[in-house]
Structures are given as C-alpha cells and as structure tokens.
Symmetry: C2
Subunit: 389 residues, 2 copies
C-alpha cells in the first residue's frame, strides 16, 4: 500500500489544505480572544451551511452519533411518538436512540436500496394511534447511499404537526438542503463528511420549533452530556463574543470548522450542491461503464455525496479493496447487514473534485483487473471524464 492514498470513503474525507493547517496548529486556549472570534464566526457560518437564518447552532465534541443522541435526548420525552423514515443502518440507529430516551418509535421502511416516499409517510402518520411528535429522516443513509426526498417528507410531517428532524451526517454540505425552505426543524451532521474536517465534531442546527419543543420539556434531557440546557448558554456566549465554560471545546476542530465554513460559504451552497451532483454523475457513469450496478434501485434516489456500487460476480470486497488501495484510493466495504458482502462504498464529498473521482476509478480499474474481472480497461475513467466535464 502506498504511504499516501486518496481517502475516498464516506467519511473521513480528504481535507482542504487551509482546513488542515488550521487543525494542525498548536492548541490555543478556549478562552483566548482570537479563538472566541473564530468560534463566533463558525457559529454564524453554520446558519449559512444549514440554510437556517433563525436556527440555534450547537457544536459539540463527539461523533455524528452524538449529534443524533443530542437531537433525540433534547426533543423527546418518555412516551412521545416518533416515526423514522428508514433507509438503512442509520435509520435503525436513530430509532434505537429515540427508544433509549423513552419514545415509542415506528418505522416507515422500504426494501434495501429503495426509499419510502411522502405517500408512505402520510399513510403511516394517518394510521398512527395518536399524535406523532417527531418525524426523523436520514437524508443519505451511509450504509446504502440512498437519498431521501426531504422537502416532500417534511411537508407531510408538518401537515401532521410533527417536528422534522434530518440526520444529514452524510449529506449536509454536499446535498441540497435548506432548513428554512425545506421545512426542517432540526438538522445535524458530523465534521468528517461533506463539511470537510477531520472527525470529532457533532454539529446541530435547531430551528424555532425545535427550540420551542426543548423549552417546553417537562423533564430534563435524557443525557447529561447531550443536554442543550448545558450547551445553549455556551453557544450563545461564544456567538456574542464572550467566553463561557461548560466543557472544553475541541479547539483545533473549531479552528478547522471556521476555516472550512469560510471556503464553503465562499463557494456558495447552490454551487457546492451542483458540484456534488456532477461528481456523483461522473462516478456513476464510470461505474456503469465498468458494468457495476448500484445499491440504490433507481438513479434518481442515489446520493450525490457517495456511491454504493455492487461487486461484480466472483469479486469480494476483501480481495478488491486492498488492491484498489495499493493502486492509490482507499474505499470502504459494505455496511448494511443484509447486503454487506455484495457492495462497497465510495465517498465523493467535501474537498473532492473530478480529479479525485478519475483517480479513484483508475485505481478501481487496476483493482478489478487484478481480481480477474473482465472489462475494457480505461472505460470507467473515460465515461466519468465525459460525464463530469
């Protein structure tokens, strides 16, 4: 294996040099004036990232699962009903988290690689035995690469009076999502995905209806560490250029977040989303030219931040992926329990451009050839270059 490969998994991802430099500097005090300014800028910048002019941002040290934990622990109380629009591993997880905090959880499911549509959610909400407080949607399930229709699902959820919570771990910063326009009450992500940082930060944006639900709680949040009652005064203080202490912020990651948000907002969200769409189109054109199918059952429900290609007959991920890594690109195996051995995963988000997609397809071709798979060498790279130009 090369000492340096392209990191093309659905997180962690390649990081922009300016972000890496901000992250690499010696730690600063969390109370020094320059850090306070950087944190304040990052909090303001997150509103642009999430499309939530009226949102309350939370930046917590932890993983994407902490972001999900924080959403669930603060928004539900024992006995509340939650409906999960489930497209895979992370829908199951979100359901388990809501249950831990006392919710009664229902799931609207589809076959692996497919997705529930708005009509399916409407049917589930209409037949629920009581009011559903919250609908949780995985925007892109990292286990399947399936993209859900957030605006359509959100409309139905709100028609039924439910809060709309979006797990955007594998989407935000890469897939089109604008909380205000799309009717989303809370969205969350993690630092190592399309936001383009190393892993270690959970990012949440709570809109007015989510904050209202939090303020109306009759019981404290189920988790102490996730409790917004602890973190809200800190976020408000830093945004207002005042230091405050609850837990020590992951200062290096906050510096990196500030640097990355500057790049993201300079690119502009709509341009960034279009770039991810081009990258996905290029990657899938290349994979199709190599004869590989996809886990998502229709092109229009496949994510733009990642691809989940099916393995050719006779080629296992254990054989293929080390060879692709030797050829220069680190990819990921399958994750969804019922199909884990049948597919692999490619991330194309954040700092990724067409060059990385072409390099990845080239490495994939080398790996496939080494595994004895018969195909026209160069066809994947050529198709991707043509589709992504």
């Amino acid at each position: 294996m090369k000492d340096r490969t392209l990191l093309m998994i659905p997180g962690p991802v390649e990081v922009e040099p300016a972000v890496l430099a901000a992250h690499a500097a010696p730690p600063t005090s969390h109370l020094e004036p320059r850090f306070i300014e950087a944190f304040s800028r990052a909090l303001v910048g997150l509103r642009g990232l999430f499309g939530a002019a009226d949102g309350q941002p939370f930046v917590l040290a932890g993983t994407g699962t902490l972001a999900m934990d924080s959403a669930a622990a603060n928004l539900v109380e024992p006995g509340d009903a939650v409906m999960v629009v489930n497209t895979g591993y992370f829908g199951d997880r979100f359901g388990a988290i809501f249950e831990r905090y006392g919710a009664q959880v229902g799931h609207v499911r589809a076959a692996v690689g497919d997705r529930p549509e708005a009509a399916g959610l409407r049917a589930a909400l209409s037949t629920a035995t009581g009011p559903v407080k919250l609908v949780a949607i995985t925007h892109v399930d990292t286990s399947t690469g399936v993209l859900t229709d957030v605006p359509g699902l959100a409309r139905v959820a709100r028609e039924h009076g439910a809060l709309v919570v979006v797990d955007g771990v594998c989407s935000i910063g890469g897939e089109a999502l604008h909380m205000n326009d799309d009717g989303v009450d809370l969205a969350l992500t993690a630092s190592q995905k399309a936001v383009g940082l190393p892993p270690g930060l959970a990012l949440l944006m709570a809109g007015p209806r989510a904050m209202e639900a939090f303020r109306a709680r009759r019981t404290p949040a189920g988790s102490f560490y996730s409790d917004w009652a602890n973190w809200l005064p800190i976020m408000e203080a830093y945004e207002a250029h005042r230091p405050a202490y609850f837990g020590t912020p992951a200062v290096n990651l906050v510096w990196a977040l500030d640097a990355s948000l500057a790049l993201i907002l300079r690119e502009r969200m709509t341009v960034r989303w279009a770039r991810h769409q081009r990258l996905a189109k290029a990657c899938r054109a290349g994979l199709a030219a190599l004869g590989l199918g996809q886990v998502p059952v229709r092109a229009e429900i496949a994510a733009n931040t990642m691809s989940a290609p099916r393995l050719p007959a006779g080629v296992s991920a254990q054989d293929l992926l080390p060879r692709v890594a030797d050829a220069g690109a680190t990819l990921a195996g399958g994750l969804h329990a019922s199909a884990r051995s049948e597919y692999f995963r490619i991330g194309h988000m954040g700092a990724c451009g067409l060059g990385e997609v072409l390099a990845t397809l080239g490495a994939l071709e080398t790996g496939l050839a080494a595994c004895g798979y018969a195909f026209e060498r160069g066809a994947g790279v050529k198709a991707a270059a043509a589709a992504g130009g």
Copy 2:
C-alpha cells in the same frame, strides 16, 4: 498579544512536536490497517498510563465531561446511592451527572481550598441510610487545584463495598495514580490535560469490578452515546487488530494518543510523576517569592499539575491576565463560583518543563509590575529556578 504565547492553563496545554505531527497529518480511514495498529497500541498503552493491567480501556470522541457522563451512565441505575468526595466545581458536576442517571447523591464537602479526608468519608458512609454503591473522587479539582488522597479514600470506600471512581481529568499522566495499587475501579481523563493532546478525546479505564457492575445492570445505560454496550465490542475489536464500527473514531486524535503514550511510557510513570512534583514545587516557590498565596489551604494538598494562586490585593484577573499574555504566557482565571475573582490558574502538566515554568513566572512578573503591584523583580523566577533544579 504575541502571536505565539506559552499555553499554561489547566488544559489545553503545550503539545510535544511528535504528538502535534501525528495529529496534523491528513485524516486516515478508521478502517485502514495502519490506523487499526495505532488504535490497538493506544488501547494497550492506556493500561500503562492508568496502572490497570486488568482494565478495559474506552476511547470516545468527546470532552472530559463525556468521560464523567460515560462513567455515571454505565455504573449507576435509578435508585443507586453515590457519595461524591467534593473539592469544587467538578465534584458538583459529577454529582449532577449521577443524579441525571437516577442516583441518590450525597456529598462529603470541605471548605473551598480544603479537602475531605478518609475519616470524613468513613463517617459519611457509616451514617448513610443504605449501602452506597459508588464513591466518586475528583483527584485534582481544576477549579481549586486541590489534590485528594485517592489511596486513603479508596480504602475506606472499598471497606464499605463501594466502587471507587476517580475523575482524573486534571491528574492522570501527571499525578501519581495507579489503579491496581490504589484500589481504583474506574478512572477517567480527557486528552487536553496531562496526557498531552489537543482536546476532543474522553479516556476511561474500567477495572474488573466496574465491568462487573456494568454487566450486572438491570436497565440499559442512561445515555445512548455513552453506553459501553455500544463501545465495548469496538474497543475489543481494535485491540485485537480487527476493524469494527459503531461511531467514527476521531482518527487524528487517536494517532496523537498513540504518539503521546509512546512518549509517556518511555519516560515511565514514576519519573513523570516526579517531574510534575518538581514543576509544582518550582512554580509554588516562585509564586511565594512574589508574595502570592494559594487557594489550597496547605501545601501538601496542592496539585502537581496546576497551581491556583491568589491575586494580590488591588489586582484583578481581568487586568492581570491580558498583560501576562502580552508578556508571553496564557493563564486562566478562577472557576470556583465562591472565589472566582480572588485567584487565577496556571497549568504545568504534560509536555511542560522547568523552562516553561520560568518563562511563565517571568511573564507573570511583567504583568504584576504593569498592574502596579510592588515586589522584587526577578524574585519569582529566581526562587523557581532554585527549587526546580
């Protein structure tokens, strides 16, 4: 303010170049072979750091408060009795966390700057209305710089059948603590203290009695994100050189942890503790020569990882600390609510040596002079050099 000051607060701290380099590299996959080896080495190395040959390590993305949350959420169930040996802000916090997870919490307290001794704990445990499941001890309370007698307190706790849990956030890697020798069932810390990393990792070591208590739970852990049922298979897999997924590890911090533990264990724990004792002695000799008192009411109960000097009459932290920073050393203000304006804090842990202590005292002298405080210039640095040589 200089662009580069010494970071002499009780966390984050100065970081060794090798650790900073490991942390600064572009993120790797959490599933690549070299990362798996680094994580495995780090997990094994943590047993040496904590002095727990039979311990189960946990490395979680989060702050020190997450480590406390994880200890409490996994070790207590609703109705369990907990006794906190309280020396300040973090004793109060630990109590609040145990309460969140349903425990009945008592506190053994002392005046600010003093500490409860083993006899006080024995009295509290003897007069408790029922069995106390767990005694929680803050080894060094970062708010007061008071060091507790862990072995003496642990002996009493175990005589009463209680689990011994040590919040070592401001101690582990700097203060003498050996879980096996000292009778500690769980100890925890955070990455940005005496372990010498940037902030963002919570580190726990659970001994056999703690794991037994966890396995005997009748209810799931109160927090999903903190739940060892989620993390234990991951820690076991990585230690056994197998990849596994629950949440994406903070890969850069794990690489840094591996690098820092190599340095720490090469120095050897007893040598490292003695170095911290010398640094503390030097710092306090310097502060005394400048006429500054301490929050800890007796020298023998003052921490070795940090100092909490009292401000001279007529000098406020708001006036002093920016001037000290201008002169090259970033210090921290007070944190304990009842004395916040009366003192400030200096961290001397991790990668810190006598040079940093002398530089800090020099900057402090410059700051004190600029505030109009009358003292013999050079006296603090001279006394520290003499005491720390």
